[in-house]
Subunit: 239 residues, 4 copies
């Protein structure tokens, strides 16, 4: 993992563009990374569509989601998603919030996503569903107030991702590469789970299979191989 | 909002190309804007597929949908959609008529679209369905006569969009950017509503959520962020 | 309609590429045109995937589907589709045989396509289904023998297209532009008909609507507007 | 069939890229070929995403899936899929293992794929389903141990492809071109089979039709025509 912040900023910008190119992010959504040497801070872009973010857009925030430097640009309204999860989960080093078309039907129907093929074992045994309405009644559905961020973090619990009813999803990872892998795998799994249901039924992975397959997919080999592939695709699409 | 007509013509042409690039428009469909200083007139392209429209194609029309200058080119047959809605709705500054693949199943099945995720709150509580057959019996399904345009405008009522049975949809906005945002959000919502139904059910936004989420999504920040992103995509696709 | 054969050859090659670019043709399928001055002949490419056909590939055939000049290249095995329909239908000037993904589910399920939106009125009231098995029992499902071609032409009857069970579809037109418009409209209609069914039901156009909407869509304005758009897309995709 | 190994290496790399471009392979999956003069060896890439493989990545392996030269690069973990099938099936000259989105719903639901249109007759009468869980209980679902490879080869039996429950599929061929044709046809068939089911029902090809249509589709004409088309598409996408 590179220690130099300018390289990290580039990695975060690349993750934003790469996830846009793979259909996870669109005009909205964002990717953050915990600061590599100061666990009380995180790195996140200024408010911009993720597909056009560059390294210079990446700013530094406290875990209360306040910018470290006085901002001269607009900031994402939903920064507390990142700050509150970094506060609640010491193991989390990267976070992606998105409204990927593949997962939206599950967010809307309120149906949990469960891993139905080996690659998606990286989701863990289930992706729970959080409904902002339960704690806060009518709202604009954005996660803006600290208590909203904390409620979401509680729903995430020890899981690797959480669906947000009528809104989208948030995934976490032990690194940017793991996060990217998990975010894309979640979209594939959602698509396959829905289509398998249309064929009649689906049988999820067992807890044992989930643990074993997650371990192998999150090892450096598969993570690098996939990252290199998605990077090559994003670079080609950019030309 | 720029006041210069040549810049506005460019914005309208861009909106046409941008909505084509996002899959809302195809060989057919059109986008208009009310004249910025003369509310009794509107701006609309000559008859051309929206994906290839340039600023010079944009002409001026009265609210009776007559061209202000004697035309030397072919005009859209369905101009009354624009004129009749501008007559009926003083608040409307931009209109898009389209046959987007995502909404067509709803137009055909006669099923209203309701907002099922926060971004699509910009649709309002429902998108009603108008059936030309109810008022006019067998027709070629185009909206060409003034009485057809007025019937459609009545069905639209105070809503932000209306489905046209076996034909397509028409959306309105307080600006071109709002219109573009709403048109794309309606397509996403239609896709998700159909897929959530396939998963079992969907729960629409409450009236309170719809109002609150619409307000935040139609504020300048999200509108600009999305417009810039879709513009960047359209420009890249053009190269 | 241009009379020069080299320009016609270019138009046929363009129709092949354009329909490939719009997802109607793929590695297989073909487009032919009746000879403009000799109704006893037709023009068709040598055996090649339609997406890579150029004007020089277009050859001349008798209505018995024999090449007029001794061929030095491989020919399509299914030429009798074209020859037999030109023999049976004096009004037909262009034919497309394809396996478009959008229509295949209907060919496989044996469900007729009916027009469910105004543009697809150009299909007429229904697209019937032909099953090669009915007349010929077990076969390789290709239409190669004259009796197979004649059986298909009978099933087409006075209609504008016919589905071929477990195989694909064949559409006809009074010109290449009409044929291209109908072929693309049929794919759109198939997709929408299937999705409307998933939403609950669909109501087809009435016979009166079909006649009126077909007339307007097949007039020169819409045909040119769509042709120009699809040509622009094919040219852009080629760069 | 070219005998020169450097040309064969290029063909294998091209098959990997071509199948990626057609949506069969993604970040994962691999294509191998039996050595043209030594049936006890096979050719397979080093561990890389198939879309970025070049001729120099192709290495030589024994049928025990050991590299012939001491490797300096990372190898695919699932090589035994290839070695064990080449051991069990003398007629097999090329193998593709993949997780194509089109077939995943069938792998997850455990539903066999049967040929529902003429091109997919190349699959044979059915594509059986293998469940690693049956023989090995909880696993990481990868096929890494020789006994896992042999179990899969037994499930494949005399068929031309096998679905792997909650994992993906493996197809075989008498040549690289046949393998590529079959792999793409299987994806198309899966998509159409699922959609025909949504329309009500599907009727598979009879055994007689399957045999006859497979023979014609696997003859040199169709194989070359399709190969040239997919190659042209992959080359264009690469630019």
């Amino acid at each position: 993992m590179p220690e130099d912040l300018s390289d990290l900023r580039y990695q975060i910008a690349l993750a934003n563009r790469l996830l846009t190119n793979e259909g996870v992010l669109d005009a909205f959504g964002h990717v953050s990374m915990r600061h590599p040497t100061d666990p009380g801070r995180y790195l996140l872009s200024r408010s911009r569509s993720p597909g056009v973010i560059v390294a210079d857009d990446i700013l530094e925030f406290t875990l209360d989601s306040e910018p470290v430097m006085p901002p001269t640009v607009q900031l994402y309204a939903e920064r507390v998603i990142h700050g509150c999860i970094y506060q609640a989960r010491e193991d989390v080093m990267a976070i992606c919030h998105h409204h990927a078309p593949a997962v939206m039907p599950f967010c809307i129907a309120g149906v949990p996503i469960v891993p139905v093929f080996h690659v998606a074992a990286v989701l863990g045994e289930t992706v729970p569903v959080w409904d902002q309405r339960d704690d806060f009644g009518d709202s604009n559905l954005l996660v803006v107030k600290p208590e909203e961020g904390r409620s979401l973090a509680r729903a995430l619990g020890p899981h690797s991702a959480v669906l947000m009813r009528r809104h989208g999803a948030t995934a976490v990872g032990a690194s940017v590469r793991e996060l990217v892998f998990r975010s894309i795998a979640m979209c594939q799994n959602a698509e396959y789970q829905m289509r398998a249901l249309a064929l009649g039924s689906f049988g999820a992975l067992t807890p044992g299979e989930t643990k074993l397959a997650a371990a192998i997919n999150l090892s450096p080999g598969p993570l690098s191989r996939a990252w290199d592939y998605w990077t090559a695709r994003a670079e080609k699409a950019r030309r």
